[in-house]
Symmetry: C2
Subunit: 402 residues, 2 copies
């Protein structure tokens, strides 16, 4: 059933994966390999930064072919700002994978995450690719999830099953989050696999739509990375009739599974934001437009004052109104409303009183909290996931100097 | 001489001031009164927030008359989000001042800074106004500066003398900064006094221009307040011929003094940002346009990753490029350049090496640091002052819950 998401690793028919250690990072697994046994449709969504790494350039070009066989990803070094050498190293990494697997170099996608401005240690990467090729297994997804972790505190996996014409299909994904890498970069990577047979065009449209409702709804600190990348491979091992558009048999179920898995991974990214103690769900209603609602939600999610108040479990609606005002968000104060974890703390232009405040404060101590704001200026709505800002964010980003 | 700024309090002929305690804050001076002995030209610059307090509404209207006699300001309570009651209390505060001084209510401007959503304690405010009226003195500016402080760690004063047709004129100002108030609001207030004779129109134009190059160049945490206000009174006690435009005798000297004093106060605001350990001067050159330069400088100044790196004295040029990229700033990476405290750490698309990095790291330990970025995309330039982000910012804003 689409929407029923399992966190544990799961096998996706026709795919094998591995996570190995090759020595880019100081410790731990640091090279992931995901391989389809047959040619798969492929789609990607990439960072919109004006500064991107060589892996983004290469994978963005290759995925336009609409097909791929393998994804290789390393953590510990982002291969960004390395000029011609960076481009050469990204290509060489995919060449090593192609040689090990006996596929064309064009069929290999690559991602890197880590320190900016340092060269990929190619001898180690090549050895890692050989090691990963030998370790490939249908159950290898969990180790692959570990191999792309940086300051993430837990590996992120999610999967869902869905039915198409009596067959049970699978969609599974891994992600790494908004942890800095040693500690340079808040890079978001996610790789998704399904045994569904889907045309490249429909795969691309589906991934774009799902990303907009999941990964693009996460904001940890208002930053974006040079290396963000989401890749989706669909290998058709399930043997369903090829889906080519939203009215194809099973398309609705496939999209439901994709949305459920990406939303679950996105929530995990916010939950595991650097130094985060809380997952925060921000909902804005009644904005003058959809764009204003989006801006309002981002103002709240990225406000240092709001994030530090949440860390302190302070039901500080004043800071929420202040950051909306500073962002020039249209609102009718006399009819606006602020609810924290379901408790209305501001209504009709005034605080609702100390009892509501105490109740909200108690609920804000939880690990998952909700901010709802009604602007009373129109019908625009938006939603974002974020996290609070703690001492640990400062520690991770100030003390772990490169 | 314009441009020669003294930090110590100074008398401005024809003005008296006082700072007293009336009990709005838990401790310390909390009510300031600044009075001109004669009608003065007046100009103001106000927050552009869509959520503003009653004092901003009232003073913004009154200053349009072009003249004023007094400024009253309290700390500890911002009188924001209080509806009709807030407007009544703001007017009542100015009525109390008018009665005590024997001037018209319309000639009194008012500012408040502090907690949002709580009523002004009017009995205390009225008593404070009476107390301040009796305490008015030519030397009272320093106590007035203390009375508007919130989490500021030092009072902010600056003054300059300038010559007009053989006479020595004075311009002095006080400011309070980007400290939260108990700890709700990062409000910026500044009040400026001069004995120059200046027409309201030229005063307004001069204040707007000076603010754009000073207060509007400070960014502590990307927030803006409901209560920000800069007021300038010019009482003509010096007896100079009235300045009415940039070509009036002394206009250049007056503007020079105004720019020097506001810039000094602005630097002090950044230096005293909450939890700040460093004053950071951000300079962007070579942007595609002036607007892009401005956006680039704000991206850098407000980046949590850059600010925490500065706290850690980490010469992390990668984070600077990353936040520019994420902000979609146009740049030619291969010709871009990053200098930290005068040391080039990134040039021609690559790091300049470990020796430069070490030298930059040593200089970043200082109390005043500089970030210079060349984008190689055009001729746009911008400059901002900001500060680093330390544990104390989180402590001030998370632990001191309201």
């Amino acid at each position: 059933m689409a929407g029923v998401v399992e966190r544990k690793a799961i096998r996706v028919p026709g795919f094998r994966a591995a996570g190995v250690r090759c020595g880019v990072k100081a410790r731990g697994l640091d090279l992931a390999l995901l391989v389809s046994e047959r040619p798969a449709s492929a789609a990607g969504v990439f960072t919109r930064s004006t500064v991107v790494g060589a892996p983004v350039e290469l994978s963005r070009t290759r995925v336009q072919r609409g097909g791929a066989r393998a994804i290789v990803a390393n953590s510990g070094c982002s291969n960004v700002a390395m000029g011609a050498r960076g481009r050469r190293d990204a290509r060489a990494t995919t060449a090593a994978v192609a040689a090990a697997l006996g596929v064309a170099q064009q069929e290999v996608l690559v991602a890197s995450t880590g320190v900016i401005g340092e060269p990929l240690p190619m001898t180690r990467i090549r050895a890692g690719v050989r090691k990963a090729s030998s370790a490939l297994a249908p159950s290898g997804l969990e180790r692959a999830a570990r191999a792309i972790m940086t300051t993430d505190t837990f590996p992120k996996l999610a999967s869902a099953r869905f039915e198409v014409a009596g067959r049970t299909l699978t969609l599974a994904g891994i992600a790494k989050g908004s942890g800095m890498i040693e500690p340079d970069m808040a890079t978001m990577l996610s790789f998704l696999l399904t045994d569904a047979e889907v045309s490249p065009g429909f795969l691309r449209a589906s991934l774009r739509a799902a990303s907009d409702q999941s990964f693009n709804r996460v904001s940890i600190d208002g930053e974006g990375s040079t290396s963000d990348m989401v890749l989706l491979l669909a290998n058709g091992a399930a043997g369903n009739r090829r889906m080519t558009g939203p009215s194809s048999p099973g398309a609705r179920e496939f999209r439901g599974a994709l949305e459920a898995v990406t939303a679950e991974l996105a929530r995990d990214l916010a939950r595991d934001g650097e130094g985060a103690t809380k997952l925060v769900d921000v909902r804005v209603r009644g904005a003058r437009s959809r764009a204003q609602a989006e801006r309002a939600a981002r103002r709240i999610a990225n406000s240092l004052l709001v994030k530090t108040a949440l860390f302190g479990a302070d039901p500080n609606w004043g800071r929420i109104l202040q950051t909306l005002g500073a962002g020039r968000i249209d609102l009718r104060l006399a009819r606006s409303r602020v609810r924290l974890c379901g408790v209305t703390v501001f209504r009709d232009g005034a605080a609702t009183g100390p009892a509501a405040r105490r109740r909200a404060a108690a609920r804000l101590r939880g690990a998952e909290v909700e901010i709802e704001v009604e602007l009373a200026a129109g019908a625009g709505e938006a939603q974002l996931w974020t996290c609070d800002l703690s001492y640990d964010y400062v520690r991770i980003n100030a003390e772990y100097t490169t």
